[in-house]
Amino acid sequence: MSSSQQLSRKGERSAKFTIWLADRSSRNRSMLDKVCRWLVVRETTPPPEEDFMRDDFVDSDLGFDPDELDRYQRGEDIEPLNR
């Protein structure tokens, strides 16, 4: 097997392991699952100063009041919703 083929096979093993890890991490029930989740979190969390996904609209993490949504749906005059 040539060196490029060896490199290719190594890449395939690595990719398969990554999927296995993501699968266990997503299940997140057993101790092994939780270890996998910890690894995934560790490897995918960028330093805050390099976190390109930060965004005011998303990070403000606001929701709505259910009663106001009810009134809004009924067409009643309401104060601006909680956003």
Partner: protein, 761 residues
């Protein structure tokens, strides 16, 4: 894969990413957002049977995949103008006069009238347009019923967005690949521009790959935000992508940068392709694209030599008069550079073996060959119709285990323009009944004036909708549709990838809103064919679909929000490719058999018309909207109060246009009103306009259509032969000749003339 790390169990407790505490009275549901087509896994928080918040998933592999459209969904679906009860037209078509009726009454009459149309004109007289990608929950039931009834005339926006790409990709290697962003070393973005609030997961993937050191090449006429981050930006002329890829192949072949082993062992037609590529020396490509030949060569070398590289799907090449050749050249670049089915390259995943896929539910095998041959558009433009895709039945069975693979729903479609012509009385036979679900067809395809004529010529139009869209305004019945917050979903992504995801129902639908499952089940009953939808409920159908996992749907969705298939690479070494030859067809045997050029080619623009000296790029996406939706959400309209035309400072000066000034954009087909937005990222001579504008607050009904007649870009989208792709029959939307005119103040005043929104019930 990172090196093994020392493990301390306490680190799990201290990990930065934590699941959120449960709040009083709030339950959480793992859902998939369908406010656009990218399908982010998110969490919906529920209180008092209301979704009160949509937030990022707790699963780290989906972290931060959420945008403003998903966050605003609880309010968007609570809009007071949402349609909550079945409506029946009581005046002339488009008069805006409606009567509230029961579902039973509506479906009984719809069934009776559809049977009459079929009895008089044949089953092919019934056409359905479902933007299945967007509603994402048709479950294959629409096609299943149509196939049993005998109609081949299903169409969708995927005819010019991803579905057609899937069909054309099959010509080369038999499947539609998905790029392995996690392991790639180089990404090529051809004109599209994923952002934080637009196609968010792709933006996340691309930025993450760049952070790991992957190269980014962008081809785009304007300097998009992706272009600003790119290692190489090629500012090509709109619509010249095909010529650009010929230039890349010329460099790759001349400098022998291709994967010689793969080409020798797994392709056919290399010498013929090479001869065609030789017709495109870099000097010619530079002239056709307007780009520096040195930079073209540099980009080609970067793609071919960086390591595994991907060319992700792009809508830009889906919507060109050279679309088939452009998509074929993307496929060919992937193949000759050895990027097929390897980590970091383009994965041919196949279906998930644990799930009954939608192609199986659709049952294309029951539609007779005679009815398949009647599929509209299949004689002139066959590639994504049954006629063009039949060649893959046996190869697909050999490689992927089943004959019919309706990849991204794009492989067995009628051609939209041919269907609307038949509906308007200009086709080989009449189409007299038209249904659309979660779809605003009048504004979603080319040649909107033709579509309006087509709709006005129908005996029966049925819409399954959430809001009174311009298309719904011309219907006979509008049936209230649920939303993604109000139904479960098993997302199998139509074979594009083998990963399956789940979405829980988070709240009950309001009023009498019902799912597409219920719609199709009721229709099957109304057509006296209840056996076509034998499942009692959507959950019952999902039990059937996940049975091979050994779980019920309830158990499946409670256990996991993502279900991976076992990854495999280089599967072709065992079973070949799902093409007639079993190899990658650089020269397409299917195109040859259909009497088209089996090699890619480039059609240059028709001679310039001095009446329309500018080039028009339609289809610009705005972060707050998706397609023609979300115009009713106040927060989104605040961000995008009016449609904006992007134009360079030079062109604006030439036409005497100032920022925020209203202008008219016109071409041979139509004209629209729009505000000017001058951007120094735009090239001279090109204007870009957004897709799908209408204003729900404006006057409804024929002659008004809530502003669609003033603003909708589909009025400028030509579908005459010069501006259709030959093989697919899809329109050229990227570089259409046009002209712009300043608008007078009087017309400008009319534009702001808003009308009563109330539905007459």
């Amino acid at each position: 894969m990172p090196a093994p790390a020392p493990f301390d169990p306490q680190d799990i407790v201290d990990a930065k990413y934590k699941e959120r505490a449960v709040k009083d009275g709030v339950t959480t549901k793992r859902t998939i957002c369908q406010s656009c087509d990218i399908a982010c896994s998110v969490v919906s928080e529920v209180k008092n049977n209301r979704v009160v918040k949509v937030r990022s998933s707790d699963n780290p592999i989906f972290r931060d995949n959420i945008c403003m459209k998903g966050i605003m969904a609880p309010k968007g679906f609570a809009n007071p103008n949402r349609i909550l009860h079945p409506l029946k037209r009581v005046g002339e078509r488009g008069s805006g006069r409606w009567q509230q009726v029961s579902w039973d009454e509506a479906m009984s009459d719809i069934g009776s009238r559809l049977k009459s149309v079929i009895a008089e004109h044949g089953p092919e007289a019934w056409a359905v347009s479902t933007s299945q990608w967007n509603t994402a929950t048709d479950h294959g039931l629409g096609r299943r019923i149509m196939n049993h009834i005998g109609s081949p005339n299903w169409l969708s926006g995927v005819a010019l967005c991803a579905g057609n790409t899937a069909a054309v990709n099959r010509l080369t290697y038999g499947w539609f690949p998905f790029g392995d962003f996690n392991n790639t070393k180089c990404i090529v973005l051809m004109g599209h521009n994923p952002r934080r609030h637009s196609w968010t997961p792709l933006y996340n993937y691309i930025r993450s790959a760049q952070a790991r050191g992957a190269k980014l090449i962008v081809t785009d006429p304007r300097q998009s935000s992706s272009a600003k981050r790119a290692d190489i930006w090629l500012p090509l002329k709109a619509g010249s992508d095909t010529a650009m890829m010929f230039g890349w192949l010329k460099v790759i072949f001349d400098e022998e940068l291709y994967d010689k082993d793969f080409v020798a062992n797994w392709t056919i037609g290399f010498e013929e392709l090479k001869a065609r590529v030789d017709e495109y020396p870099l000097e010619r490509v530079a002239k056709l694209t307007g780009c520096d030949p040195i930079m073209i060569a540099k980009a080609a070398r970067m793609y071919a030599t960086s390591g595994p590289a991907i060319i992700p799907w792009t809508p830009i090449t889906d919507m060109q008069r050279n679309s088939t050749s452009a998509i074929r050249l993307q496929s060919i670049l992937r193949a000759v550079c050895g990027n097929i089915d390897i980590p970091g390259g383009e994965l041919l995943q196949g279906f998930n073996p644990d799930i009954v896929n939608e192609s199986t539910i659709e049952m294309h095998e029951v539609l007779s060959d005679e009815q398949k041959s009647k599929q509209l558009g299949s004689q002139q433009h066959p590639v994504f119709t049954y006629r063009g895709q039949q060649y893959f039945n046996e190869p697909t069975k050999r490689v992927y285990g089943q004959e019919y693979a309706n990849l991204v729903m794009g492989c067995y479609m009628a051609t939209p323009s041919a269907t609307f012509r038949a509906m308007a009385g200009q086709g080989p036979y009449p189409v007299k009944a038209f249904f659309f679900l979660g779809n605003n067809p009048m504004m979603s395809y080319a040649n909107m004036p033709l579509i309006i004529d087509a709709m006005m010529n129908q005996d029966l139009i049925v819409a399954h909708e959430q809001f009174m869209t311009p298309s719904a305004q011309l219907a006979d019945y509008i049936l209230p549709a649920d939303s993604w917050l109000e139904r479960p979903w098993l997302a199998d992504f139509w074979g594009w990838m083998s990963t399956v995801r789940t979405s829980e129902k988070a709240m009950d639908p309001p009023g009498e809103a019902r799912s597409t499952f219920e719609f199709w089940k009721l229709l099957a009953n109304a057509l006296d064919r209840p056996e076509l939808v034998p499942w009692d409920s959507l959950e019952d159908l999902y039990d059937y679909r996940v049975a091979a996992t050994g779980m019920t749907w309830d158990r499946f969705v409670a256990t996991k929000d993502v279900h991976f298939a076992k990854p495999e690479f280089r599967k072709y070494e065992k079973v070949g490719f799902a093409t007639p030859s079993g190899k990658v067809e650089l020269k397409s045997s299917v195109l040859e058999d259909l009497d088209f050029d089996p090699l890619p080619y480039f059609r240059e623009d028709p001679p310039a018309d001095p009446t329309f000296p500018l080039k028009l790029f339609t289809g610009v996406r705005e972060d707050g909207f998706f397609q023609t939706g979300h115009r009713h959400i106040p927060e989104m309209r605040e961000r995008h109060p009016e449609p904006l035309m992007f134009v360079s400072p030079g062109t604006a000066k030439e036409y005497g246009i100032a920022e925020d000034e209203w202008v008219e954009v016109a071409n041979e087909l139509g004209r629209i009103s729009i505000k000017a937005a001058i951007r120094d990222t735009m090239p001279d001579g090109l204007i870009r306009i957004p897709h799908g504008w209408w204003k729900p607050e404006m006057k409804q009904g024929a002659g008004h259509l809530s502003g669609a007649l003033k603003y909708a870009d589909a009025q400028l989208c030509r579908d005459d032969d010069e501006y259709l792709d030959r093989e697919q029959g899809i329109p050229h939307l990227k570089g259409v000749p046009c002209q712009i005119y300043k608008l007078t103040p009087e017309i400008n005043e009319n534009i702001s003339d808003e009308a009563d929104l109330e539905v007459t019930v």
